[in-house]
């Protein structure tokens, strides 16, 4: 930003100059001229203010164009980038949920197969032991041979099924690639929106400066802190291992609870 030509620069130099003249006039007892000077000072301040408000309005307009929001058409068929980003994130939620459910379906299908194979193998193993120790009758052995035969057939069938399920579980993770791309694009948009908002804040602060408005930032921050309800929860903590006020794992939680007498 060129400082010399900025309205603040103008305003500052006008202020300094006029202030000296004002003191001069007052000392000379020339009140008419003094009032005229005050009037001019006001005009200079207003000009600066209009200029800054104008700039702010233009920036706001640019920001609206950048966000592709059209305030005149609230139900435009062409969606804004923000709406688009919301839809993209919803897509991520759906994709991850589907993948999780698909994986759990397959695990739930596979677990009983494995359990049954294991049970049958244990039971056959016990009977095989009896046969080896010659504790089995000929009829008993014929029965055992039939069971072994059907177990082998079943093992073949079930392991093919299990291997298929494992493959499908692997494939169910393909969401990662797609959701990763979507999240990266939304992150990019958020960064753009942030930098546009920051520009607006800087513009607005220049208006504040000229209008002589001051904000008590500490008070504002304190008010915001108060509005945050800790009971409503914050969700997963990022960088938990680098923060003192956050338990970074279950051991931390257990330590904290035991220090409280749990």
């Amino acid at each position: 930003m060129e400082h010399k030509d900025s309205p603040q620069g103008d305003l500052e130099s006008t202020l300094k100059q006029s202030a000296r003249q004002l003191v001069d006039s007052l000392e000379k007892g020339n009140f008419g001229e003094a009032v005229q000077l005050i009037h001019e000072l006001n005009k200079a301040r207003d000009r600066g203010l209009y200029h800054e408000v104008g700039k702010l309005t233009r920036e706001l307009h640019n920001a609206i164009v950048n966000f592709q929001l059209d305030p005149r058409v609230p139900h435009a068929t062409e969606v804004s980038q923000i709406t688009d980003a919301t839809e993209r994130l919803n897509y991520v939620v759906t994709m991850t949920e589907n993948a999780a459910n698909k994986t759990m379906d397959l695990v739930e299908q596979s677990a009983p197969l494995l359990n049954e194979l294991n049970d049958e193998a244990q039971s056959l193993s016990a009977d095989w032991g009896r046969f080896m120790r010659r504790e089995m009758s000929a009829d008993g052995f014929r029965e055992l041979a039939k069971r072994v035969e059907s177990f082998l057939a079943r093992s073949e069938r079930d392991s093919a099924k299990l291997s298929g399920n494992m493959n499908d579980i692997l494939l169910a993770q393909d969401f990662q690639d797609l959701t990763g791309q979507v999240i990266k694009r939304v992150t990019q948009l958020v960064t753009e929106v942030e930098s546009n908002l920051l520009k607006l804040v800087i513009m607005a602060s220049q208006v504040d400066q000229i209008a002589g408005i001051e904000h008590n930032h500490e008070l504002l921050r304190a008010e915001q802190e108060q509005q945050k309800m800790p009971s409503s929860g914050e969700g997963p903590q990022i960088h938990a291992d680098k923060r003192d006020d956050v338990a970074s794992n279950q051991d931390d939680v257990d330590d904290l609870l035991s220090s409280l007498g749990f």
């Binding site: 949920e97 999780a100 459910n101 759990m104 695990v107 739930e108 800790p230 009971s231 409503s232 929860g233 914050e234 969700g235 997963p236 903590q237 938990a240 006020d245 956050v246 338990a247 970074s248 794992n249 279950q250 931390d252 939680v253 904290l256 609870l257 409280l260 749990f262």
Partner: protein, 124 residues
């Protein structure tokens, strides 16, 4: 042993349900937030409550407080399984009378340990 699982994400309810089944607890019911869970607890004979913290409607911490304030439910063992990991929150839950606190992501082993510990204390 009848257990109520409260979480707003159906996948998480399903994971917990499966882990509980592996531990031998097959009698489970599900609710998606405190508002639906509380009437279920009040009308059904549940022996154990597993709840998330962050949920729309009524949160898990408010559900815990409601349970402790209810004359018939106040001794119900409550295990919190949540992503909320701020020390202040864990202390808040402890003060509200939680029986165990598991942070997500968690393992089957951790869930098993905490549940066993709670029953040891309840029965002992």
């Amino acid at each position: 042993m009848k257990i109520l699982i409260v979480d707003d994400f159906s996948t998480m309810r399903r994971i917990i349900k499966n882990l509980l089944r592996d531990l031998g607890f097959t009698n489970t019911a599900e609710a998606d937030d405190g508002t639906t869970a509380l009437p279920m607890l009040q009308s059904g004979s549940f022996d154990f409550l597993v709840t998330d913290w962050n949920m729309p409607g009524m949160t898990g911490i408010d559900l815990l407080r409601a349970v402790r304030a209810d004359e018939r439910l106040k001794t119900l063992p409550v295990l919190m399984v949540t992503a909320e990991a701020k020390r202040d929150q864990i202390i808040e839950a402890a003060q509200a009378g939680v029986n165990g606190y598991v942070v997500k992501p968690f393992t089957a082993q951790v869930l098993k340990e905490k549940i066993e510990k709670i029953f040891e204390r309840v029965n002992g």
